[in-house]
């Protein structure tokens, strides 16, 4: 049975959610509405004159092979960031959950990178991997590996994926650790008595019980990779080499702020809005149906 608290009348609940509604309206609905409106125009940068083009901006985008390529780049990048940061976080959470001595220290240290802003993290990684001059690339050169992410698109992608995942591991770690601690000890002990080893227990008991956390993190991390990795990409590769690391958000910036093409930039924002909307719907449908205990 669900417990429900009900209000009598309408004014109190309305009053209580009003601040949140106002914030959403000002910081979300209004700008989103502006973006949708602007996506039908080609304005000049200063807003002196503007031309109505209807679907023109969208047609221009969908015919542009480089825009379509940025879809693919975004998909690869987001998947890699999600997989790398979640796998690393899960492994670290499992380890941190097992240790008894000094677990607090480990946990604190693992959470630290989360406090580093993406742009700052980007600069750190950029310095370490700078071709010829960077610390890591210098050592790689010593062992005979030629590191040059400025020209090699695979290396550039790997670098932005690791730099974006690094700070994210901490966030995922927190959720996984909490999830692991919520797994009933009695179930695990019962399995242990039955002779199941650690990895066997993990595979058959812990991981399935973690699935709501995992699914939540999956969606949150994809959204993170879509939108919040701008700083990392801007500081490390600026979308290059060629367009190997130009994800959709970066293209919105490049067209809008470098190219001053606000119409195309607005149309791209609308497309991103749709994608995130779809992702969120999937998350809700999925969490309701499958991942429920």
């Amino acid at each position: 049975m669900e417990k429900r608290v009900t209000f009598k009348g309408w004014w109190l609940p309305l009053l209580l959610i009003l601040p949140q509604l106002l914030i959403t309206a000002v910081f979300f609905f209004w700008p989103a509405g502006q973006a949708i409106y602007q996506s039908a125009f080609i304005p000049d940068p200063f807003g002196l004159k503007t031309q109505f083009v209807g679907w023109g901006n969208f047609e221009f985008l969908l015919e542009d092979p480089y825009y379509l390529a940025s879809f693919k780049t975004t998909a690869i990048f987001s998947l890699l960031v999600t997989i790398v940061s979640m796998t690393a976080a899960l492994w670290l959470a499992l380890m941190a959950d097992r240790i008894i001595k000094g677990s607090g220290t480990y946990r604190t240290l693992l959470i630290w990178p989360y406090a580093v802003a993406p742009a700052v993290a980007g600069v750190l990684w950029m310095f370490m991997f700078r071709p010829n001059v960077g610390l890591v690339s210098w050592y790689l050169d010593r062992v005979g590996y030629d590191w040059n992410h400025v020209l090699n698109d695979g290396q550039a992608m790997a670098l932005v994926v690791f730099a974006s995942s690094w700070g994210r591991v901490s966030y995922n770690f927190l959720f996984f650790l909490a999830g692991l601690q919520a797994v009933p000890k009695s179930v695990i002990e019962a399995a242990a008595i039955d002779g199941a080893h650690f990895w066997h227990r993990f595979r058959t008991i812990v991981f399935p019980l973690l699935s709501p956390t995992t699914f939540f993190l999956l969606v949150v991390n994809i959204v993170y990779a879509f939108f919040e990795t701008f700083g990392v990409i801007h500081t490390i590769t600026a979308g290059g080499p060629q367009q190997a690391t130009t994800i959709m958000v970066y293209k919105v910036y490049a067209d809008g702020f470098v190219g001053q093409d606000l119409g195309s930039s607005a149309a791209q924002s609308v497309i991103l809005l749709l994608i995130v909307g779809i992702l969120t719907i999937i998350q809700f449908k999925f969490t309701e149906r499958r991942v429920h205990y």
């Binding site: 940068p45 400025v150 367009q243």
Partner: protein
């Protein structure tokens, strides 16, 4: 209580006394300089403010060039634009297209009545910012042009004569082969590849970068930098990259770190990089003119500038514009310009400042610092070497960077990459044309 009251009176009388001072008209100047350049700029502002009492110029840094332009645009949309906005040379067409948002400098100067002689400016500098009819739209502020930096110690170490002739790319190539054979790892690197190796290359060899006089005469200009000369040059650079002679460090001036650390023998970079190289390099270096291809007819023509100019924004009071005109006139005075030129390595924008620097014996004490000027003023400019005026050019440079990277990594031939860059860039030019029709 009495004490507090008397203090209050004292403070309020102090405020009242200070009022006449702050009644001077404020002139806002948004710029993109930090660090040493920012300090030198602040010094100019202080000098102006101290020289008169009617106006107070307030300089504010708004980030890098792109960010400053964006800040200016956003401020204009909000009706809070500064009086003077620093805009890099690639933003020139964007500003020119914004009739109604800007007030042309020749107008400001004519109305303000401050001393102003458009013919006193170096022609290739002035040409970048004037209409075909010769009206100056924005005031050139910092201008530089690409030159070749040579690490003389590396040449000596490899058994080469450090005074050897390096005026053509053929000669540079020969020297590069010898350096490579002597085990030199990084031979040539560059900063600002599109600016040096396409934009300036085209002007220097008198071939067009874009149609309609590089965009000076009409908005329906199309890119044309996929001609035989540019393809040959980029193809040669691609070959050098493959042979390990040309080291690509990045899209901006990342290569500077490698050169200043003494790793690379040759470095093509802005003449304004001089101050940085001089302060950091613990080796003997020298500035040479940018090499050229001698088989091209008319080469070497002249190189073009990079840097920024000052745009006056529309929507302010007549009295304020009077102050702006005085300040711009002050900035162009030969004392200010000569000092700026000698401190930074940027070009002196006026002929008077050049003559003054020469008379002070600066070039004798700092050999090579006049090469940039000679390289720019050696010949009268042609339609191909006056400059570039292309919309969305910051982004087109980004496209050129991407396509050049494809050549350096061996993914594309020079012809295919430049053809593609032209086609992609033209698309942006058409959108710019549509927005500014």
């Amino acid at each position: 209580m009495k004490k507090i009251l008397s203090r209050f009176l004292l403070v309020s009388s102090l405020i009242a006394m200070s009022l006449p001072v702050s009644a001077a008209t404020e002139i806002q100047w948004w710029h993109a300089f930090t660090g040493r350049l920012g300090d030198l700029l602040a010094e100019q502002v202080e000098k102006f403010n101290a020289s008169q009492s009617d106006y107070v110029v307030v300089g504010s840094n708004k980030g890098n060039y792109s960010e400053t332009l964006n800040a200016g645009i956003a401020a204009f949309r909000a009706g809070e634009q500064p009086h003077i906005l620093m805009v890099f040379e690639v933003g020139t067409a964007t500003m020119m297209g914004a009739k109604g948002a800007i007030k042309p400098v020749y107008e400001v100067m004519a109305e303000g009545g401050a001393a102003f002689d458009p013919d006193g400016y170096l022609p290739p500098v002035k040409g970048y910012y004037t209409t075909p009819a010769g009206e100056m739209l924005s005031l050139p502020y910092n201008s530089s042009t690409p030159v070749l930096y040579v690490n003389r110690d590396i040449l000596k170490g490899a058994g080469l004569d450090p005074d050897m002739d390096l005026s053509t790319w053929g000669m540079v190539d020969e020297a590069m082969d010898k350096l490579k054979a002597a085990g030199q790892e990084c031979v040539l690197t560059t900063a600002w590849q599109s600016w040096v190796h396409l934009e300036n290359l085209s002007a220097y060899h008198d071939v067009s970068f874009a149609t309609k006089d590089n965009g000076f005469t009409a908005l329906d200009t199309e890119l044309a930098f996929n001609g035989p000369l540019q393809v040959a040059h980029i193809g040669a650079m691609g070959k050098w990259a493959k042979e390990g002679k040309f080291f690509y460090a990045g899209r901006r001036n990342e290569g500077g770190a490698n050169f200043r650390a003494g790793e690379c023998a040759f470095f093509t970079e802005s003449s304004a990089g001089y101050a940085g190289v001089k302060s950091e390099a613990d080796f003997e270096f020298e500035i040479r003119p940018l090499p050229f291809w001698p088989d091209a007819e008319g080469a070497p023509q002249n190189t073009i500038i990079g840097g920024s100019s000052l745009w006056v924004m529309a929507g302010h009071e007549a009295d304020e514009y009077k102050g702006v005109s005085q300040f711009l006139s002050f900035l162009s005075s030969s004392d200010i310009q000569a000092k700026w030129h000698q401190d930074t390595g940027y070009l002196p924008i006026t002929i008077a400042a050049y003559d003054q620097t020469k008379a002070e014996g600066f070039y004798g004490e700092n050999p090579g610092t006049d090469i940039a000027i000679l390289q720019m003023t050696g010949k009268p400019t042609t339609a191909n070497s006056k400059g570039l005026r292309l919309g969305s050019f910051d982004q087109i440079r980004g496209i050129i960077d991407e396509e050049l990277e494809a050549v350096w990594s061996g993914d594309k031939t020079a012809q295919a990459a430049l053809d593609n860059a032209v086609q992609r860039g033209n698309q942006l030019l058409r959108r710019f044309e549509q927005a500014n029709r």
